[in-house]
């Protein structure tokens, strides 16, 4: 056992079974811990933590509109996180969902950009399909190098996100710039048929939320019931067992990245065809990174992720509120997100481990030697 400053530290002991109660408690405890630390931080900034707390976690639920904004934000987070979680379970770490999201947005925008006059019900569904294809293509680059040269997928996918943003910049400053747009770096406004149908009247919530929920169901089926999902799970938990059983690691890499890229691309398409309505530089707002937190906070489980996506969306909207009403800097929102993930990762250790305090009996004694 270790002693620090005269205090005996407990030891981390592995549990025989994963603790189900800890699995459920961990995300809530993480939220409480992160909230507590951040409120302290706000107090340090000279901002009344109670006002921030109210603005962040209470106000979003007090009006129909701001609640609908939570639903709007939850859609892309849910989509991306479900896709990422499948890969994370297989220990394929796709950190580049942001880039796949941007490529999805670009691919989807190609239709209204090149056919601004077109009309018909085919347009928005084709844009979603294009978006999925774009995300998939971008993730495939990472999968190819990982499978071929064992290049680290974390680095490749992350770096490709920056490349994706430069492609977006190039298009918006060059060929796709709206000629009537006063030189702003943005595409034309999309025609009506290129926009997703609104789900809740009077709000910006569109059918992509339904799509995200349906796909959450599909993710559940895939991870909990399908054999392909089982193979990925084995590969993630025990790579040697996967090799022993003859499950291909390359196949797991491809499948994980393609599913993640597809979901992120779909989210990107739904963003430009949804609340934004055109291709802009500001579509990249960090959903791809926030979704990593959502995936882990949901315990990498499709049902848990539904809840964590709504939680994260609340924090987004609440953070916006707090910026306005309490004068919180925007960085504070990211600090909150980061500390939430950190708190969760710390607490999730206790799902498979527990602390064991050394016996109360008097410590080392060597009577009898004398």
């Amino acid at each position: 056992m270790t002693t620090v400053l005269g205090l005996t530290l407990p030891r981390l002991v592995r549990r025989d079974h994963a603790s189900v109660s800890m699995m459920v408690i961990a995300p809530f405890a993480a939220l409480a811990l992160a909230a507590f630390c951040n409120l302290l931080l706000y107090a340090g900034l000279g901002i009344n933590p109670l006002i921030v707390f109210k603005a962040m976690l209470i106000d979003p639920f007090t009006s129909y509109f701001s609640f609908s904004e939570i639903l709007l934000k939850a859609g892309p987070l849910l989509l991306i996180a479900q896709g990422l979680a499948i890969g994370f379970r297989a220990k394929v770490f796709n950190i580049g969902a942001e880039g796949q999201f941007v490529l999805g947005a670009i691919f989807a925008s190609a239709i209204p950009v090149y056919a601004p006059q077109a009309s018909g019900l085919w347009i928005w569904p084709s844009m979603l399909v294009m978006g999925m294809f774009g995300g998939l293509l971008w993730a495939a680059i990472t999968a190819f190098w990982r499978a071929r040269l064992n290049a680290n997928e974390i680095l490749v996918s992350l770096m490709l996100s920056f490349v994706a943003i430069q492609i977006l910049n190039y298009l918006l400053l060059g060929p796709w710039k709206d000629p009537m747009g006063f030189n702003f770096p943005q595409s034309v406004m999309f025609q009506y048929d290129a926009l997703l149908p609104i789900l809740l009247p009077g709000t910006r919530v569109n059918v992509s939320l339904v799509l995200a929920l349906v796909l959450a169901g599909a993710a559940w089926l895939f991870t909990q019931r399908s054999f392909a999902g089982y193979r990925l799970e084995v590969g993630g938990l025990a790579p040697n067992a996967a090799r022993y059983a003859g499950f291909s690691q390359n196949r797991a890499v491809w499948l994980s990245l393609l599913i993640g890229g597809c979901a992120a691309g779909l989210a990107g398409a739904a963003e430009v065809a949804g609340p934004v309505g055109q291709l802009q530089r500001s579509i990249s707002t960090g959903y791809g990174y926030a979704a990593i937190i959502v995936a882990y906070l949901g315990g990498l489980h499709p049902i848990g992720i539904v809840f964590s996506a709504f939680l994260m969306a609340t924090l987004y909207i609440g953070g916006d509120n707090a910026m306005v009403s309490a004068g919180l800097p925007i960085a504070a929102v990211y600090v909150f997100q980061g500390s939430l993930l950190l708190a969760y990762l710390i607490l999730s250790t206790f799902v498979r481990n527990r602390l064991e305090w050394p016996d109360k009996a008097p410590a080392v004694s060597e009577v009898g030697r004398q």
């Binding site: 079974h17 938990l237 022993y244």
Partner: protein, 503 residues
């Protein structure tokens, strides 16, 4: 009677509902070689952990030189004069012998080098102090561990299954060392389940069964059969050598397999040739680390072979050299790997999902979805048919004891009705009862016409099972020996032959 060096009085330790030790009494006299005899899971390891201060007892007391002590940590144990040599070595392979020793023993390298040489001559523990550990054989590594303990001048030395990794000749050398140590007044606690060796070197034996002491005997006064009975609490199943079977078509044929490796910690395979036919058990003897893992991975298909070896392995009459693990399984190949947790089974998953690992092709999936009802039934059948002690098919594999998990994995592979079954160390760390159950199954399987290939370190096991034995040493396979015409010493000679030639 002189005061015992170490006495345990009514020592108990429980892990939740499991009583690993209950009311254990033990007296170790100075200069005695004292055996702790018991099956795996009988509580031997827990008892040693209590003595070495890794765990503390729930009840009872420990007396050292007649005075009560509390041993709160291994460091405290070492200060008292207790040294322990673990079954799995704790040496840094990239460091030299003397560097490893200097990590725990104070003194300059020069002094330590001299002391290592001195101990080596005095106790028959010769080892080159400046050699890197990864170049040493298993026997030499064990000597380093023992020397490291001896340098701390212990009064009591605990050895956990020390011979399980040694060829017979090296074991004899170890016994000689232990006798010399005992002659100098060092007490030795010798943990083992090998009855013959306990009879040959131990002056006392304490027998543990289910955490309780069931006997304190002088081992020389009993024969192995009586000792075994005390150890497992019932008669050992009488074992008759199975009569030879008519041997049929060849199921596995390896011809001239050579696999070079750049990895300094792996062994290159050189010109391996063997053949296993229907109704035959072929045993591969040898000390671990002589290419067993590499050979196993090449046969199972986990290591892809280079194109130059594209004609080296045939199964069921088909060339499978370039086929992966899944493809080989489809031909009727089943495999029980050495590593149970993490390779043969996924510790975090239930037995239902672990059954699925290799049994999925037996109607356990449909349209891409797993048929969990059937998978559960499969796991249940396996648990019942192979006497796996577990709360049920939903238990996590990691929660099973080593022996029970091994029964599950062997059972799963046998239930696949393979034409060729390959097992790597099938009874390593498995208690005597479970091991004999597994061996019985393997013989039944052979009698029903299956081809069986077994890699094992335990020579006795191969003599019980195999029709023919080949010895793997430094990546080379010996000629094929007919078991009924071979003695264990002959096998032992093959195990160390080229090592001696190299020296």
């Amino acid at each position: 009677m002189t005061t015992p060096l170490l006495s345990l009085r009514g020592v108990s330790k429980s892990y939740g509902p499991v009583h690993a030790n209950s009311g254990v009494d033990l007296d170790v006299a100075p200069g005695a070689i004292h055996a702790i005899l018991g099956e795996n899971g009988a509580g031997k390891s827990t008892l040693m952990k209590l003595i070495y201060g890794v765990e503390s007892p729930d009840a009872g007391e420990i007396l050292w030189d007649g005075a009560p002590v509390q041993i709160a940590s291994p460091a405290a144990a070492r200060r008292l004069g207790i040294g322990m040599v673990f079954q799995h070595f704790s040496l840094f392979e990239t460091l030299t012998v003397v560097e490893n020793v200097s990590l725990v023993v104070p003194g300059t390298k020069q002094e330590l080098t001299e002391r290592i040489m001195l101990f080596g001559r005095e106790f028959g523990l010769e080892v080159d102090p400046l050699a890197h550990v990864h170049t040493l054989s298993v026997g030499e590594r064990q000597r380093v561990e023992i020397i490291r303990c001896l340098l701390a001048d212990p009064k009591l030395l605990i050895l956990d299954e020390p011979t399980s990794v040694l060829p017979p000749q090296s074991a004899q050398k170890l016994f000689e060392t232990l006798r010399r140590l005992a002659g100098r007044g060092v007490s030795i606690l010798f943990i083992s389940h090998k009855l013959e060796e306990i009879r040959s070197i131990c002056s006392h034996a304490t027998i543990l069964r289910s955490g309780k002491v069931t006997g304190n005997v002088t081992p020389k006064d009993f024969d192995t059969h009586e000792l075994a009975k005390m150890m497992i609490g019932r008669d050992m199943p009488a074992f008759a050598r199975p009569k030879e079977m008519e041997q049929g078509a060849s199921c596995l044929e390896i011809a001239g397999l050579t696999l070079e490796t750049d990895d300094p910690f792996a062994v290159s395979l050189r010109d391996i040739s063997l053949r296993v036919r229907e109704g035959e058990i072929l045993g591969i003897a040898g000390v671990s680390g002589n290419g067993q893992s590499e050979l196993a991975a090449a046969i199972s298909g986990e290591t892809p072979l280079p194109r130059s070896m594209r004609d080296s392995i045939a199964m069921m009459g088909r060339n499978v050299s370039l086929l992966g693990a899944a493809g080989r399984r489809k031909l009727g190949f089943a495999f029980v790997p050495e590593d149970r947790l993490g390779q043969g089974a996924v510790p975090e998953l239930s037995l239902v999902k672990n059954g699925l690992l290799t049994a999925h092709a037996r109607g356990l999936k449909q349209g891409g979805l797993v048929r969990y009802g059937r998978a559960r039934a499969f796991a249940k059948d396996c648990i019942n048919a192979f006497d796996v002690r577990t709360p049920g098919p939903d238990a996590e594999a990691g929660a099973l004891s080593g022996g029970n998990l091994q029964k599950f994995i062997v059972g799963r592979e046998i239930m696949l009705e393979p034409k060729l079954l390959f097992l790597n160390q099938p009874t390593w760390g498995v208690d005597v009862g479970a091991a004999s159950a597994i061996r019985k199954r393997l013989i039944e399987l052979r009698n029903s016409g299956c081809a069986v290939l077994v890699i094992s370190e335990e020579i006795e096991e191969l003599f019980e099972l195999a029709d023919h034995i080949q010895v793997l040493n430094e990546g080379r396979l010996s000629e094929r020996l007919k078991t009924s015409e071979t003695r264990p010493e002959d096998i032992g000679r093959y195990m160390i032959e080229s090592a001696e030639a190299a020296e």
